[in-house]
Amino acid sequence: MNCQFITGENLLHLCEKHDLTIAEVMVRRECELSHRTADEVRAQMAERLAVMHSALEKGLTQAPRSVGGLVEGQGKRLNNLPSPLMGGQAAYAAAAAMAIAEVNAAMGRIIAAPTAGSCGVLPGALFSAARSFGFDDAALVEALFVSAAVGLLIQTNATVSGAEGGCQAEVGAASAMAAAALTFLQGGSAGASLSAAALALQNLMGLVCDPVAGLVEVPCVNRNSIGAVNALLSADIVLSGTGVMIPFDETVDAMYAVGCSLSPALRESAQGGIAATPTAKAAEKSIFAAEQYIPEGLGR
């Protein structure tokens, strides 16, 4: 069978016609693409999951400090808050997402999903669900394939680059990927997964990319936490039976149109949003004044 798909509608048609989950379609597509077996393809995804897990451990226990020094140990602190207002499930998702994003900001090893700047969202949401509902690694690997299908659709039909589409294209896409994966884990249909992805993307539509000093630190680490919590919320709304009015494909098109209409100042250039505030500008000046060295290594 041919497992290529361009739109969400194509993907749902493939699932229905062959009685497959989104994950199974994605695994078959990958087998075709790379001339490997399903076991080999799943093993590679399991390796990626293991890297996500190491990053989580590191972020929650070591409280890494970012290269620019703007974030440090936020994930760990939130995880230690005794009575989070949003409840343990959401607080852990947010803390895990931040912890992983902090490992990224501190030059640690992560899996871009879909980007390095948004790398905490998907594992934050998945590990939170796994902790409460006991999903094992095999289930999480399938969930990652579901999220990969959603990311692929967004990357194909819109963009996942902050410089092109703003933060909605990075954290928004990651949140959509996570919402689809969570819906799948909770037994939702392929259609429900795409509805949850659409809702997650709609909830974050218009979010600008405004990194202070151009670094992947503030507000990026915090935005990872909202992406993870938004994924839980979007999946729950769909699982409760509420329909999503605007379908996934149309939502992706709308997100792209919004991205194109954003001023370049709001697309990763550090010239708009909170990056343009006096406090951000002062921080930028002091970071780069301290680092105006020209690195040189003399060897032996």
Binding site: E30, A105, C119, L152, T156, G299
Partner: protein, 223 residues
Amino acid sequence: MKTLSAFDVIGPSMVGPSSSHTAGAARIGAVARRLTGDDPVSAEFTLFGSFAHTYAGHGTDRALVAGLLGLAPDDERLPFSFELAAQQGVSFRFRTSEAPTEHPNTVGIRLTGRTGAVTRITAVSLGGGAIMITQLQGVDVSITGEYPTLMVEHKDQPGMIGEITRLLGDRDINIAFMRVFRHERGGQAFMVIETDHMIPPHIVQDVASLSRGIGGVYIIEGV
């Protein structure tokens, strides 16, 4: 353009913080190392545009040196590449330039190998970890490093392409993409062949002995 894989979306596996400024920079370093065909002993990097302005906060400098030392973009020793370079006796220097460039994330690299041979490279980081070598020894080229690549330096004369592609065909290596670049007719030229299969190291010797018109032969494993 390569068809996107699930592992392009859930990936790459990399050391942060930025796919363009860190992972892409490490890949540029790795490809540059291959293009010297020799262990580099010293390197001079010139950073342009966004690379010049924000390299410090993104570890772009450490990533470039890490790649040059042969470290993968997800090697956790990447942040310590300066120290590793010192241990390995590799010296390096960075400059920044305000000169305008076509692409915001551009780096010029001048490498000296153990034999004293100098390789000059210009590369750009395109985003998401994708890169392109845009100049080699002053000749405009395009090398992405996404596929196993054979790079052959040769004299621009009739028959060269046929000889080399026949040799690859005889060894069952399928060519995915290929391009030929040159300065002027009859001068120095570069053939860039991207393949679907790993290129065994002995191909270097086989290709080099084909004709006197062939200079350097380099293999870039997909990085």
